[in-house]
């Protein structure tokens, strides 16, 4: 018995074309002659010794430095938590406004999305630099920076996730004469809560890592200490701080995984 198959669609020419275009584009961006980036691999061979001595120092963390890190680390965690919590609260109405199923009005949806895109397109270091100038060195500029950064991430990712979900219950609610606000408050919000929770927890994790960088411009927390030790070339202290950030990030991830499993 022979099985008669319909002709198999020919997809490989298209796949090949796309793959070829991607490879060509990547190669072209590495050619300085036509304005591509200059990649001087030879310099690695020339300079690796400088880096190697730093790596060697980093490999020998000086744990006697640890007690001096407690207070700045606590400040970082406080900034991370407060920034994430305030952003979480503000993200709820903004996300529901930015999502098609929960806001059928394309004008207001477009306005919210534009604002979020603007917030997202400004690098966090720029926020921190400006805010340090405005409010002075300390935790406040870092906190506001983290808040803005989290808001951009949460609203964009969650509103897109809500867009791609099915929301049949909204049709039933509209058929019963409910307003969009009532349905968002009573149904769409609890229905989308796991999507929110995922990004809120991710924002908290990001905050700890970002605040290490924000210290460079004086925005408080462990980052300031990190920057200071870098300035003194105290790489043994730097590696203690990096290890500490690693531990905190892992702890937050473990905790958020536990929470996520309970929320699902």
């Amino acid at each position: 018995m022979t099985l008669v198959l319909p002709p198999k669609p020919r997809t490989w020419p298209k796949t090949l074309l796309i793959a070829g275009a991607l490879v060509a584009f990547t190669v072209l961006t590495c050619l300085p002659a036509i304005g591509g980036v200059e990649l001087d691999f030879a310099s690695i061979a020339k300079n690796w010794r400088h880096g190697a001595s730093k790596l060697a120092q980093l490999a020998q963390p000086d744990f006697s430095f640890l007690p001096r890190t407690w207070v700045p680390m606590l400040e970082t965690i406080q900034m991370a938590v407060v920034g994430a919590v305030v952003a979480a609260a503000v993200s709820v109405p903004l996300t529901l406004w930015a999502s098609r199923p929960t806001n059928p009005n394309s004008v207001t949806r477009g306005i919210v999305r534009t604002i979020i895109n603007v917030i997202r397109s400004v690098p966090d270091l720029v926020y921190a630099t400006i805010l340090v100038a405005l409010t002075g060195v300390g935790a406040l500029p870092g906190l506001i920076t983290l808040f803005l950064f989290d808001l951009g991430v949460v609203v964009k990712l969650v509103s897109e996730a809500i867009d791609s979900d099915k929301h049949a219950y909204l049709e039933a609610g509209h058929a019963a004469g409910a307003t969009q606000f009532q349905l968002n408050r009573a149904l769409a919000l609890p229905q989308s809560l796991p999507l929110f929770a995922n990004q809120w927890l991710y924002a908290l994790e990001l905050n700890v890592r970002i605040s290490a960088i924000l210290g460079i411009v004086g925005a408080g927390g462990i980052g300031r200490l990190l920057n200071e030790r870098f300035g003194f070339y105290a790489y043994d202290d730097v590696s203690v701080i990096i290890l500490e950030i690693l531990v905190v990030v892992i702890l937050i991830e473990v905790a958020s995984n536990l929470l996520r499993r309970r929320l699902a």
Partner: protein
């Protein structure tokens, strides 16, 4: 050939009539889903809209509560001219028209109580909506509706963990808590197994008989239309091809509606 003699039970003063006049719906993609449909449904009638998928019956039922606006012609429900309504007026009409769906359309992560309360939203003030606190009246009406479909013991259960038949009964309770004058049902039993399907159809006839509600139910199975409804409207390609009593509709009538021979899957069968 409208047949009002089949209106079930005593005519209830609360029920509303439905009138479509030359109603047409053309979707933005150019599909003409409904073509010049004119029909009158008297208060308290139990009407089946029968047709194959794509015949326009989903569109027809959605013009009644304005979920699908008519492109031309008019739809009148009770005192309301549906095509002229928007905003508050549209919500006022919809609060009087209950609707249940093939996919039940419950919020799965929300409990049965909160899902049922949605039927009271049109009557709820903004402050109560914001804080999510129902008034004692709204609470009572939602719980009574759940009780009348036998779902009161599941009131704190998440909708997502109910069976299909239970979900459809909660959906009916949601519609009943509106204290509606018209009940719409879009393929209410197409996702259910035969015994549950018969139970839900029986529930709809009970609402029609006991509350005197005008009931408009979309079906594609001929025996359900014959056994549970009094009047049948047949749709094919968006046009009314049959309008008459349901019980005495012949196989030939169904073949005309379907536009093909009767097949075994056109019947659900007894349970």
């Amino acid at each position: 050939m409208t047949n009002t003699a089949h209106a079930a039970g005593a005519p209830a003063s609360a029920a509303w009539p439905i009138r479509l006049e030359n109603a047409s719906v053309t979707y933005p993609n150019g599909t003409a889903a409904l073509k010049n449909v004119t029909l009158t449904i008297e208060p308290g009638e139990m009407v089946a809209v029968v047709g194959l998928s794509g015949s326009g019956k989903s569109t027809l039922i959605r013009t009644v509560n304005g979920l699908v606006p008519v492109t031309s012609g008019s739809v009148t429900v009770g005192p309301h001219e549906v095509s002229a309504l928007k905003g508050r007026g549209m919500r006022e009409l919809r609060s009087n028209v209950g609707m249940i769906f093939q996919a039940f359309n419950l919020a799965e992560r929300v409990n049965v109580y909160r899902n049922t309360l949605v039927g009271r939203f049109a009557a709820q003030n903004a402050l109560r909506s914001f804080f999510g606190v129902a008034s004692p009246d709204d609470r009572r009406m939602a719980l009574e509706a759940l009780d009348s479909v036998g779902m009161l013991d599941k009131v704190w259960t998440r909708a997502g963990s109910l069976s299909g038949g239970q979900k459809q009964r909660v959906a009916i309770a949601r519609a009943l808590s509106q204290d509606p004058r018209v009940m719409l049902a879009d393929e209410p039993v197409a996702s259910l197994d035969p015994p549950t399907a018969h139970a839900v159809m029986h529930e709809l006839t009970r609402l029609n008989a006991e509350r005197g509600l005008t009931v408009l139910v979309n079906l594609h199975l001929m025996d359900l239309a014959r056994d549970y409804t009094t009047r049948m409207i047949g749709l094919r390609y968006g046009e009314v091809v049959y309008d008459g009593p349901a019980a005495s509709a012949t196989d030939a009538d169904f073949e005309q509606i379907y536009g093909r021979r009767i097949q075994p899957q056109d019947r659900l069968g007894a349970s």
